[in-house]
């Protein structure tokens, strides 16, 4: 089993995440794209861990930390989305021009 194939897959997933982040206008879908990018990073970490196979499993531990932080990020992010929707009746980032010059 090779490590490179996982890195290529991770690069593809990350690119799709960046595309979604830039193209979609719905805030929830932007957050979904961010999750996609975090997943690509996790694939990289686990792949490098399987290459090094250190005794202290550092790659897997970092992956678990990233999953935890992503869960916290989603909680706060979706609370902010609900807040914005309650105030502006819209989940479209084009409508959020409050701080736009």
């Amino acid at each position: 089993m090779l490590v490179n194939q996982f890195l290529i897959l991770a690069a593809a997933l990350f690119s799709l995440g960046v595309y979604g982040l830039l193209v979609r206008r719905n805030i929830v879908l932007i957050l979904l794209s961010v999750e996609l990018m975090l997943n690509a990073v996790n694939i990289n970490l686990v792949a490098f861990e399987s290459m090094i196979r250190s005794a202290d499993a550092t790659g897997q531990i970092f992956t678990i930390f990233i999953i935890t932080v992503a869960a916290a990020e989603v909680g706060i992010g979706l609370a902010i989305v609900l807040m914005i929707f309650r105030n502006r009746r819209s989940a479209d980032v084009s409508d959020l021009n409050l701080m736009r010059w």
Partner: protein, 176 residues
């Protein structure tokens, strides 16, 4: 050989799910596409002997995070069509050409470049035979205990902040 077949199948499933996430018109389909990607990636973790990470992936991501996403999507309504009109006229073709160039360069590098195909380590750490929970838990609670506690604090703050945001009212009402 079996590993390669599993990788190809699950990789294609992950890519298909990711394309669904970024392309689907209905946000619910996007969420379900992410679910497919998460499960495929969990299978890839098992392929690399990271069983515990795979379990965490399914429980936390596919279980909790995606439920939260679907909940919010349902709450703010799925029937509103996204405005996908492009305001900058030449942006799409230029980006298409640039993306094509990058893809061709990446493919050429992969095919002809001086490219090392690194094999995964065949060595299996002894703890793996007892399940990777032991292998992960021991350094987590010794070397990384400070980061672990900081993450616990972060999660507490995030939960409190989410509740505070959801309860916030601009005008103070009596029901609190």
């Amino acid at each position: 050989m079996v590993e390669t077949i599993i990788f190809v199948l699950m990789g294609l499933a992950a890519i298909a799910g990711a394309i669904t996430v970024v392309m689907a018109r209905n946000p619910v389909y996007s969420a379900i596409g992410l679910l497919g990607t998460l499960f495929a990636v969990a299978v890839l973790y098992v392929l690399q002997l990271a069983h515990f990470v795979a379990a965490v992936q399914v429980i936390v991501y596919a279980g909790a995070v995606l439920t939260l996403f679907l909940f919010v999507i349902m709450l703010i309504g799925v029937d509103k069509e996204e405005n996908r009109e492009e305001n900058l006229r030449f942006q799409r073709p230029v980006v298409g050409v640039l993306a094509g160039v990058i893809v061709v360069m990446a493919a050429a590098l992969t095919a002809f470049g001086d490219f090392d195909w690194v094999p995964a380590s065949g060595a299996v750490i002894p703890e793996v035979t007892n399940g990777t929970i032991q292998a992960v838990a021991e350094p987590l609670f010794t070397d990384w205990v400070l980061a672990f506690e900081a993450t616990a604090l972060l999660l507490t703050i995030a939960a409190a902040g989410a509740i505070a945001l959801a309860h916030y009212r601009r005008r103070e009402s009596t029901d609190g």
